[in-house]
Symmetry: C2
Subunit: 224 residues, 2 copies
Amino acid sequence: MTKILGVIGGMGPAATVAFLARVQALTPAQGDADHIRVVMDLNPQVPDRNVRPGEAEAELGRMAERLAAAGAEVIAMPCNTAHAQAGAIRAVCAAQGLGFIDMIAATADAAVASGAKRIGVLATPGGERLYTDALAARGVEAVLLDGADREAFMARVYGVKRGDVGEAARAEILRLAQVLAEAGAEALIAGCTEVPLLLRADAAPVPVTDSAEVLAQACVGACL
Amino acid sequence: MTKILGVIGGMGPAATVAFLARVQALTPAQGDADHIRVVMDLNPQVPDRNVRPGEAEAELGRMAERLAAAGAEVIAMPCNTAHAQAGAIRAVCAAQGLGFIDMIAATADAAVASGAKRIGVLATPGGERLYTDALAARGVEAVLLDGADREAFMARVYGVKRGDVGEAARAEILRLAQVLAEAGAEALIAGCTEVPLLLRADAAPVPVTDSAEVLAQACVGACL
């Protein structure tokens, strides 16, 4: 029996749409009816996770409750950074018997499975903290950007949110991937859902584990 | 004050995702928070609208109710054919004071505004009936495919639902657009949400009014 997927989205909006397309692409389907039913709340007005984390967590919990009421049986949130505020979502899922797919844990597991001992992380500051801890718990060291490179990364993430996925943005993200590889990363985690909108995995200097792809695959596995 | 958009989707799944991307592309946004909040039920298991219309209508009504409960203030359904079964959705919207954007009426209005008196319709048999009536009510004659061409069109629509948006499919839809133009159509309505996944408007032999684009623009207008 297939399950209904609940998507807590909007962080950002384009990344959520790309995630939905990915879930469909990973679903073996000969027609409409073979696809997974998805209830979604694409809410671009969730309070800023960096500035107002408590309010963000409460809002994410309310979104999970509404999705549960709309029939969701498995909950996923295609935003790495917001997983730092996933506590209320987890509580709703536990109380109502819903599954919650932890994007950070699933991605860290997938990246570590490659055998790499130093893994570069392309993520927001909040995402970097989550992945550094998740990788450390698996005996792997995180390699991070710093200084101007870190600022350049965030500028490109915000650029995607304005619709900028052009060549200059792509070249810059590729350069930052190379910076991490030169700093010793044997593999990379695309740990922000905006990254795959700019970085083609097959163009990167080392193997990339794409958090959006990992989450989409986990959703298909949980719902089909 | 912006409004929350409720999307009754899944008919088909890829067309719904393309529609969401279109709404975002038409939204003037400098960051996440400028985008429209969307609650969606992407339900690929709605009973076949051609085979079990009554069951389909009842299910679509239940989807509208759930979206209203999830906060939707304006309802849109990016599937032309299913508008023949929109009665229960209209009833829910009327009872709860929600707006329902009629994709057929909005698209017919937009197409007729060009001044064309004979308009070709690329749509499923159910969609053809809706557009023939809508155009007639506006004093315009619908030009339709027939015979093998009509079957070829439906084969390509079902192909999209299997993921086939390749070159052969695109060439075939372009050929069918030319058939309608040669039969006297001065303009075309892409009256099935799968069509724009195959037909580039700027490649068509006559001006194309894309129902998905019209609906997305109407949603942005209603929600911002």
